[in-house]
Symmetry: D2
Subunit: 464 residues, 4 copies
């Protein structure tokens, strides 16, 4: 039981169970850098506007930097009785510099410190995730460049549909991750607003200048309504959603990698460095990385629902429920970071089994659509009829146990005599793939254009 | 049991249970306008590039418009055997114009029709929600303008904290809804990309021009990778998230309206037209509208989790799971639309009980922070010590059963003799509120600036 | 704008927008049978205890039955101004029998009608789902019985692990669905408590007898605390969770069926009656049923989160938010019912491709664990060392491009000379499967025991 | 980069990033007691059936107990290269006793160790939560006993509805927590099934006896199908759901405590030991405990969605995704435990402000229903008409600015002359409350019966 900073009017000390339940220090200590940066900006501003003396502010800043070093070096003693990182740091600087330390809290409240630290953390990690996504994009584009003439069966419903090239398939993910990058960037842009100086909920009578602190901390501007600001967590919901959508994409990729690694598919092989074995089955080589990537969608979806649930129906302004905002965001951010790192490595070291992909193209009548299109374009058959004729050709091929691409025009003429010998070329797998020259299509020509497009776009981004 | 368009190679007819389970017509018929618009654009493009004759295309377009009219007028017969709205419309135009109708499906697939119709629906409704939010903002700003000198207790933890004005409180919601508008706009911007022409997954060998269709349908450009496009549902996830965040804000407002309507608070009174009674308790007047608004957060959060769950781990490209994308989006969109309408009406007709708000300000020692600030600024006491002195003053006021704002300087001097008679002015509620002149604060001066800011911003938006 | 039953003290009529927003009739009309059954029980009880005359009650009951018939026959006119099914029915019977109809609402409130109708619906549908699960279990057990000697590769991480029989694999699902049945039954047992007679929140001063109504409606007993009862929705959360867990199992099964239907696996083939084709690719035969079953997990998870969100933080007792409880439950229940029906049919007509399963067993060194176990049991090698030796054998087999089961003892002796010729028998696929005789294992002997166990258990259940 | 137990056939060492990503040791070390208990049971069984020598088993058990002590005392060195707690313990016992240690893994797999340890943890914590709930129930019942004649306004829609007693209100929560206890118990009963001996997925050829291990570990029986067992996480989903439902109840209670603590209500006052203050507003006393309890519903809902998402669509049997099962369960369990502890303490020390509750009863016309009932019962007016008359009486009372309970029969007769002077007694608050004598109602008579019912039920439970 310890005496709290706010205990002036309290008759009983708080219980140790309350301290454990109520304190955020065990997790918010992660925000010490943001808190110290915020305090330095606040103190600097207080000096600029003449609220604190240059002398006091210098002492405060020196002490804050000392505390940062202490925490960096693991020498700082965190006490649960300090409740949170804000108090922990303030107590310590008061220990170091005495009364000057007590003046730091002039014209601010813990509510706006919390709002500031957490926002800085989220903005910084949006950027970090963008950087890792850029790296992943480069690796994927490299993989695409190496696989422009790697045929594989394009699928819908996990059924063979049409022949595509593997580069084109990889570029679908590049396209998804591009949207992810755009979402993270849009969120930074929208939320790059300074909360500092909002005090508890209503602003402060002190003659502070919020433009100074905003500018010192690289914000675009101070926020417009303090009551909103101290209880705004939209920026946190956004990063949770953006990470969730990122994991929709990652989990889809992971699912494909898992299926492609099966004995039945064998389209790809993970490097030993990114695979694991079994404690009981010595032959096993498991795609654990991909499975974990897929599974981690669970925690990031859950973290988003958690914060939505917390925020639902809260009256203005700050309520203690909002202390529940951090752990989920920390978890999603850390999950995104390590997942992007390992996905990039796993892709960079992945073996693409081109022959198996090519072999797979010879089952499933991948060029059936080409036959239908041929009937439409060359034989002038309405599409719906062409579809039916092709259905019959496929059934015949199945009976003969051969693939449509290898059936030969003679057998096809038996089904419909409008079919000519030129159909053989149309039904070749590679020709089929290359025939899809419409914008955004799978032909090599179009695939190369897509690579150029993505490379150009990527060259315009910078890792900050 | 009916014969399907794709039944060429099938030996058995599909079961009626399958038809019921599999068909999307009961819900996707809502997309008929989008589907017809897409078909007209597609046919027009096919004519431009010379794939279909001008004659056929004219017939097709006339038939499509006839079908639109039939559906508009409730004269169209939907048959479950048609599976989906795309087939329903195509069947009907073939009925009307014969073979020309069958040619419409040239160079496209249901997959890209689904992708197109749904995207058009989502884009259109993002805009509709923005329009309703703009209307709500205007009503809120009007309410704010009328309440710049309405004092009420600003709260944190649902406890009286500091005196604020009611306009300032309302502007906190204006600030939230501003971010909502920005999110919906950002989503339109990011997803205003044409999927049409992607065909099943790989593009098409037909010499289509996707720029034409994109431009006819007001898209910024055609999509870059068709494999991604046919299974991209990011735009749908975004609207589900943006509506969820909107409902975080709405539910917070609703919670406050409910609490404020209680007998104990009586800060506001709903108009009879937006209240309901009880079947058993004749005295009841219930804030049902606000409760439903709060409760509807449940369905919109749930709809978002639904689609995230559906999309998790799906291999490329289209899988039938994705048919589950629509109902939740329809439900969230319709919920948002009616909720915004009714919230606007309920606010426009809300009675603000100024006297009750004012009376409430006289409990809870709302000016305690002012006393602490006075001690810091005038008496040069370090903040932490000032906090403790104020704590004692509050305890004393509690014993005397009066509010700190009415305690008078003499009693305060007994607690700390550095306090002067000028403290009385500082502790007045209105002065306290008006003292918070920092940017974004609650003083009338700042509140007026905020109103001007929001009005200026709003004047730059247009209802499209 | 219409006059409401509760409008006594209201000065303004309610808005038509409010009627649309507030009314539950569009969805709760589904509860008309439950509502009428409840009213009959209530009226009967009121007669028994002497509150209503026998004459009035007879009129009421006749009218209620007439209304039920009218709704059954689609002749009943639902008016949105009636708000909900309770009012709709009461208005109608008052139309039919005049003042006697008005007496029905004596000693009850809409709150306890809502609580009753919804609980009856949930209890009834728990039972319906159990019945469908029993039917599915029978079909699965039949399938198991036909496949006791069908070898397939047992997998972990979607990698070949050990040879198992297909019956054993199917029984894993029987085991899951058994737990599902137990959960639905446990929920019925726990929630079979009558809410009727709780009135608005506090009970009633009328001398009603809640045991009579409870017994007439087949409840175990009346509820113990009315304040809890009118706002208890645990029974609804339970069915939403139990359906969600059911869909975890269904989605796992569906995923396997989809993968097994791929060209690469071809372990199973859906009957044409439960497959669909493509509008553009004539060769496609898609496992849509399985995909939809997998995808429907999304909506049922979402429905559960919706109701949890609604109920979170609601003060006692009834709040209008709770009107949001029904649509999600209706949707999950109807989803479960049609899904179980179609899954049963799809399974009953599924073709099991035994040869493909058998062929697949010859890749992936499924008997590697057997070699390790042989080394432990016969050669007395510690397990960890045996694991390493086997790892080397597998690597060697890979180099030779043969399966471990076909490697022969001579080659194995080169790796470790403790290996004898008896190893060949150990490494045969069928022997391997049959060697797993531990309780619950995959040997045919154990598989048969499991079938007997499940059949015995099933014979103890009845379809009610 | 370290050599793994399963590295026999691997050519490259695993990357350190993979180790960090893949390893579960940082969180599953929490399961060391369960793992050691399982290993002791497994070893004991291996001795009983003659697979291991008594000598080896003795060494193993001694070593296992030593390891347990080492971990208990914080002397155990956890190495990330050990991947998980199972390997960490096995490595260490092999270090201690050499080859005998290597024999422990005979006839088992990590998959069944994971399944065992996690299930034991969940079962044990179901019990722990029940114990804490029992304690909470006792405290609530004590509070109820002290408040049988404490009047407060019963509410619906947060509006005054009817007078009830505070004991009755508290018993509503006792009733909810009773269902919670029943759910946790039902889950123990259903899942008290031993997974040990299932090996990787198919059972084992070793002649193990699963009944022995089941019995040594206090399970009801061994599981029936091993393939199901190694990937069954229903027991984990159940505890996540049961904790979520518990938090629906806790969050409702918390919401009421927060509202009741507001200046406007002041129905209750938290003890200083369970309240906190503000860093900036010295007069604040915040109900942080209740707010955190309400907010923690977010994390437990999120944890449930996480695991549902993870399990959705996983093929049999074990997949690495399932490693994501633990952290969420640990978090929900620990949240439930500390929350129940602190809720019990906060309730036990809560001050009930009876006078404020009583005063509040005099607004809102709580006895309006009584007037309507009086009209029905005494004056023989049909209920619907009575409802309208009462509505007018309430409107009149509002105009006179008095409460209906204090209006007096004379004024009421002006509204309807069938009303007699006996109405005054009917409209008294206490009489109104006590008139609700129907089973489960709020009259003191019924409230006392409810207390007796719950006490009897509670006396039948034991804290195990």
């Amino acid at each position: 039981m310890t005496k709290k900073m706010w205990s002036g009017r309290f008759e009983e000390a708080s219980s140790s169970l309350l301290e454990e339940f109520n304190g955020s220090l065990p997790f918010d200590k992660k925000l010490y850098r943001e808190d110290i940066a915020g305090s330095i900006a606040h103190a600097t501003m207080l000096r600029e506007v003449g609220i604190l003396s240059a002398d006091d502010v210098e002492k405060i800043i020196v002490a804050l930097k000392q505390v940062e070093q202490e925490i960096d070096n693991g020498e700082f003693e965190f006490k649960i009785s300090d409740e949170d990182i804000h108090m922990a740091i303030e107590s310590r600087i008061t220990e170091i510099i005495g009364d000057a330390g007590k003046k730091l809290h002039t014209a601010r409240s813990r509510n706006d410190q919390v709002a500031l630290d957490f926002r800085l953390y989220v903005l910084r990690n949006n950027r970090k995730i963008i950087n890792l996504l850029i790296k992943l994009q480069q690796t994927l584009i490299d993989m695409a460049k190496n696989n422009i003439d790697t045929l594989l069966p394009g699928m819908t419903h996990l059924q063979h549909a049409q022949p595509i090239n593997f580069a084109y398939h990889i570029l679908a993910y590049v396209s998804m991750f591009k949207r992810d990058i755009e979402r993270f960037e849009s969120s930074i842009e929208r939320n790059n607003i300074s909360p500092i100086g909002c005090a508890a909920l209503a602003g402060t009578p002190h003659r502070i200048d919020r433009n100074i602190t905003a500018s010192l901390l690289d914000f675009k501007s101070p926020s417009i309504n303090c009551l909103d600001t101290v209880s705004d967590r939209d920026f946190a919901l956004e990063i949770l959603f953006n990470i969730s959508t990122l994991f929709v994409h990652i989990s889809r990729f992971a699912e494909e990698l898992i299926i492609w690694s099966s004995y039945e598919f064998k389209f790809v092989t993970f490097s030993d460095a990114y695979s694991t074995g079994s404690s009981i089955m010595p032959q096993k080589k498991n795609p654990d990385v991909a499975e974990l990537l897929r599974g981690k969608s669970g925690r990031v979806f859950g973290n988003m629902i958690s914060l939505l649930t917390v925020m639902k129906g809260l009256p203005l302004a700050y309520n203690k429920d909002m202390q529940e905002d951090k752990e989920g965001v920390f978890d999603s951010v850390e999950t995104a970071i390590i997942s992007l790192k390992i996905l990039e490595k796993a892709i960079a070291t992945l073996k693409v089994n081109r022959e198996n992909m090519a072999k797979a193209c010879k089952t499933g009548h991948l060029t059936a659509t080409d036959l239908a299109d041929y009937l439409v374009k060359i034989c002038n058959v309405p599409f719906r009829e062409a579809h039916h004729i092709t259905g019959r050709a496929v059934a015949e091929a199945d009976k003969l146990n051969i693939d449509l691409s290898e059936m030969g025009y003679k057998k096809l003429q038996e089904i419909d005599d409008r079919i000519g010998s030129d159909v053989d070329e149309v039904l070749s797998l590679k020709n089929s793939m290359n025939s899809r020259k419409s914008f955004g299509g799978t032909s090599q020509e179009q695939t190369i254009k897509q690579i150029e497009f993505f490379e150009l776009w990527l060259s315009g981004l910078e890792i900050k």
